[in-house]
Amino acid sequence: MPVKSFREAINEALRQEMERDSNVILIGEDIAGGHGGIEGGIGSTGSMFGALKGLYDQFGASRVIDTPISESAIVGAAAGAALTGLRPVAELMFMDFFGVCFDQIYNQAAKFRYMFGGNCSVPMVVRGAVGAGYGSAAQHAQALWPIFSHVPGLKVVLPSNPYDAKGLLIQAIRDDDPVMFLEHKVLYNEKGEVPDEPYSIPFGEANVTRSGEDVTVVAFGRMVGFANDVADKLRQEISVEVIDPRTTSPLDMEMIIESVEHTGRLLVVDEANPLCGMCSEVISNVAIESIGALKVAPEKLSAPHTPVPAAPNLEELYIPSRDRIESSIRKLMVS
């Protein structure tokens, strides 16, 4: 199978969906780039993380729409366009910018279907980069998926690898509901096998990335790779099952519970802040549904309740590490 980067997978998903369906448009800041500059410069940016390179050249200004720095107008325009027949994919560049436009996401797009009694669809995607590890500090490095997952009407996607990124983004575009599509900035250069043809991965279906008997590790986003590495390292000693939910809303608790019923031990690893986050959500659901299956108290590994620090050494401490995943697993086995 061809090997592609996470960035290329995103690009391919967008390109193939735009080829398939002329109602799919892209809108955001510098997703083409170069407007108002020299001749020939338009399209040279292809979004700040380079994931949209070439799409302007292929689809032109009517489908790859550069905007002023006006996120409420961008996301609201996407919502209005979605209500009236397009399938817009809006880009927020860094998802941290949602704070200036959240109303159009959470009060508008997410609620239309319910408020209008089901008589509409809002098939839109809001893409943006998330996560720490890039030295981009407090306002450009947040996880945020717990906030989005809290909101009824939104679906929240957090791919951990190139294969999933392509399949989930295609699903997001075809989905008839508003989808928050979160791209971990540290993963953009990650490579993996990605089929050339279009395919979609359904939402709410977790992926077992490592099968195991002794401990269930539920990991989100970038943490999936870390958990896999630790599982591989410990293989001779401890049999670790790693579950990647892939979407945080809907959240595939069924598969998680099935696994915990089997292993009796649970670690949840997430890069987001701890209060009202995914770790709490997963652990509480397991406690409610399967407390009897737990042989020991579940473990939680998340970022601390602090903003993301700028200093690289502090940022590294902020993010859950392979070492801490390993210690947590060992702790579960000992107690």
Partner: protein, 324 residues
Amino acid sequence: MSASLDKNTALRGYEIMKTIREFETRIAAEYAAGTVPGMTHLYIGQEAVAAGICVHLSNADSTASTHRGHGHCIAKGCEIGPMALELFRKEGGICKGKGGSMHIADVSKGMLGANAIVGGSAPLACGAALTAKTLGTQNVSVAFMGDGAANQGTVFESMNLAVVLKLPVIFVVENNGYGEHTGVDYHVGSKDICSRSAAFGMPAKKIDGTDFFAVSAAMAEAAALARAGGGPTTLECCAKRWHGHYEGDPQAYRAKSELEELRRDADPLIIFRSKVSAAGDVSVAELDSLDAKITQQISDAVDVALRAPQPAPAELLTDVYASY
């Protein structure tokens, strides 16, 4: 009657205005009687704006509305029966009773919803205009908003975006004198709203919002420009609301005499009647019989709504997602 307006369009405008007036008058009475749940903001006094704008729109054109949205919904073609059911939050409501006064919508009619968030309409209307532009349909969209909404960042962003992308959107700022209990002279620093729009680089006009024909004429021009690919326009339509901000508002911020003057001098229905009878195009009898038909229709609709059952309990959990 304006030269550019045919008789049928004018009558359609009158019908809209009268329907709004009658519907809301009845709702006000019901609200006072305690039968209407939640908050309600009435549009009475501003009828000529919704009518003058929407007579130029088809179902394929879109409007995004406000918390004071009944008038826009009626003008855009939402059916009175389901609207009444929605206001009482009953089964069969236009939103199944799940939206209420501030979320009435009928996307099939191009009514993208009342909106309980001030300034929420403008970006959405840009989106509908973007659809029109992208698909090359020559449809237009209208963002209704109040004078207070005109201070929201979302609105300014939308105006610039619309100019930059040459979107076929018309920003209709209904300057009704107040945002909640605060006068426009206080909350708009420039003492003029449309000049701010003009500064964004689009045509912008101030219009007597109690005169259906004035609104209609301005809208005809704006819509034609937009349909021709000429981009956005702002119309600041001045027409004070007769009721409080919400039903039950004690209105300590304005004089009783202001209300008396409005009813006497600024009634869009009276102004319409006097204009058409001066022109001799429409007979008083014609209008009176329209009035009677509308009164009956609304009385029937509200009576049905009052008796209708509440939504089925299972409705609580549906319509969150297309499928989940």
